[in-house]
């Protein structure tokens, strides 16, 4: 694979907490707390983790839908987070997002052709008319919808079809990078596979890179080339997918993988049960954030933040003891 098109460095997003009549700032929810990774052209990076670990916030901050607290995002060597307005507008064409909820992600008062075509007109790529209609038809048929769907409203479609409209909307601008924010978790399993196949087909055709956010490990394993595991706003492990599944290094990843159900009742699995709940991101534990729930935790874990280091072969782990 070729060079990195997206480079995220030490990205942080803290949400301030205000309290009292004078709205005094009393702390931060550290939703994303220093994340770094690279994404190559035509590659899919899966991002997994529990609910509330900051996966979606990461995706949205990269696209500057949320203002980052710290860190940098570079897309094809262009600074995304500090880009001036006109520069940002150009970047918007290249970086798109597909949302989780196919119901709230489509404006109920716009037809399919308006939803898909709006950005094309806004970016002055097309003018209203026959050419635009032809292009929209091309895009939506590519996404598995039919031409006669063009003038229908979102409520006339099923969840899977709506998700296809969402994909068509992102695809219309011909982006080379798409953040897929749990695009299939609201869909039936049978529909999930259709949508995932659509995404992989589009990747093969157009060389699109995905940041695929999900909490479904099976889906992530299928679609991703590399996988990042997040815990409480940090990446704890990042590796090529087979290396991660066959040989997880971080104790959290091990616990996560052991929780995947296996459809074979005779097979016994050693499930690693984690103690306690995920700590609050407003008040994360010191040192290694995972030490409160880790089987191997020692004193050093409470004091020192483990470095996110390469164990060789681009297998990154944030743990003092991983080898």
């Amino acid at each position: 694979m070729s060079e990195a098109i997206l480079e995220v460095k030490n990205l942080k997003k803290h949400f301030p907490i205000y309290k009292g009549a004078f709205r005094r700032k009393v702390g931060d929810v550290k939703a994303v707390d220093g994340i770094s990774f690279k994404l190559k052209a035509g590659e899919t990076l899966g991002l997994v983790g529990e609910s509330g670990c900051g996966k979606s916030t990461t995706g949205r901050t990269i696209l500057k839908l949320l203002d980052p607290t710290e860190g940098s995002v570079k897309y094809k060597d262009k600074d995304v987070l500090n880009a001036p307005k006109d520069e940002m507008l150009k970047l918007r064409r290249e970086m798109q997002i597909v949302f989780q909820d196919p119901y709230s992600s489509l404006n109920p008062r716009m037809t399919v052709s308006q939803i898909v075509g709006e950005a094309l007109i806004e970016h002055k790529l097309y003018k209203k008319g026959k050419e635009l209609d032809e292009y929209i038809t091309e895009v939506i048929t590519r996404c598995g919808l039919a031409k006669y769907h063009m003038n229908r409203y979102p409520h006339e479609f099923s969840g899977g079809q709506r998700q296809r409209i969402g994909i068509a909307r992102a695809l219309a601008l011909n982006p080379s990078f798409i953040v897929a924010d749990e695009p299939v978790s609201a869909l039936d399993v049978s529909i999930q596979s259709q949508v995932i196949n659509l995404l992989t087909d589009l990747q093969k055709e157009r060389g699109i890179s995905y940041l695929f956010i999900s909490h479904d490990l099976g889906v992530v394993k299928y679609i991703s080339h590399r996988i990042g595991v997040m815990y409480l706003g940090n990446l704890v492990e990042l590796s090529e997918k087979n290396a991660l599944f066959d040989n997880p290094k971080h104790p959290y990843t091990q616990a996560l993988l052991s929780a995947i159900p296996i459809p074979d009742p005779t097979k016994k699995i050693n499930r690693i049960l984690l103690k306690g709940d995920i700590p609050s991101p407003a008040n994360p534990p010191s040192g290694c954030k995972f030490h409160t729930r880790c089987r191997y935790a020692k004193d050093i874990c409470k004091e020192q933040v483990p470095e996110f280091r390469d164990l060789g072969g681009e297998h990154f782990v944030a743990c003092h003891f991983a080898k």
């Binding site: 798109q96 997002i97 989780q100 716009m110 709006e118 409520h155 006339e156």
Partner: protein, 316 residues
Amino acid sequence: MEGGEQVTEKNLEIEKKPVNMNNNEAEQEILSPWKMFVRKFKKNKVSIVGLIILIIMILSALLAPILTPYDPYEMDYSKINEPPSKEHWLGTDEVGRDYLTRILYGGRVSMKVGLFAVIIEIIIGALIGGLAGYYGGWVDNILMRFSEIVMSFPFLPLAITISAVIGTKVEPQRRMYIVMMIIGFLSWPGLARMVRGQILSLREQEFVQAARALGIRDSKIILRHLIPNTVGYIIVSATLGMAGAIMSESGLSFLGLGVTPPTPTWGNLIQNAREVYILRNRMWLWLPPGVCIFLAVMSINLLGDGLRDAIDPKSK
């Protein structure tokens, strides 16, 4: 139902029933928000009555030139202060103008004032509410504090003052535009607050995030994505606001500070009732315009209530 001609009528009916039911079910599944709204509204008989009364009143005001042979401004000194008769159903006033004609034309002015006042209210209210809701932060703070200031002006004294200051410089025929503007510019804050609340919750929806990710301009997000989704609520508050505007106009005109004669409005026609002699002996001079105001405001309110219930997705 092909080949229905060969079947007897009785059979046809039996066959028809299940087919119709299926059609209904199929329709229900893909009911658009608009169709659902119409269906719910039709169920509300009271507001249908309101709608019918309102339509009759609007039509009679619009068709006034056809309905009556008289001119509302034409004086006839040979027929002053006549009681109701065959020629003049509601008699004539102190300068011999046909009173029914004046009420019909007065309805035109009253409803026009109500309508345009509400249009002003909607434009300002939706815009300020939209900006405040979408941008939040200090923009929201400034706009909302401003609207609270406007809201805390006592309406009547202020309207009277403005009308007294500006009104004297304007010829009587133009006064109705002043009244429209006074009512419109003083009544938008309520709508602005409601639109702001709606937009605050819509703003967090993913389709707005998607529009931002697509690089759509803020102005277009507000005008194409956010405001159209509050249109239902705006329509409801507009109908109710129109009733209020008609009342305000009548009140001001009754006090002689709104639209002034010779332009007739329902409000200044009731002015006649200020004379005790007329109040006691010539009921036909003040009762009909009063009833007109009552009917118009009531029917608009009933309509507005029905619209509100129909638009609320939680009501059945």
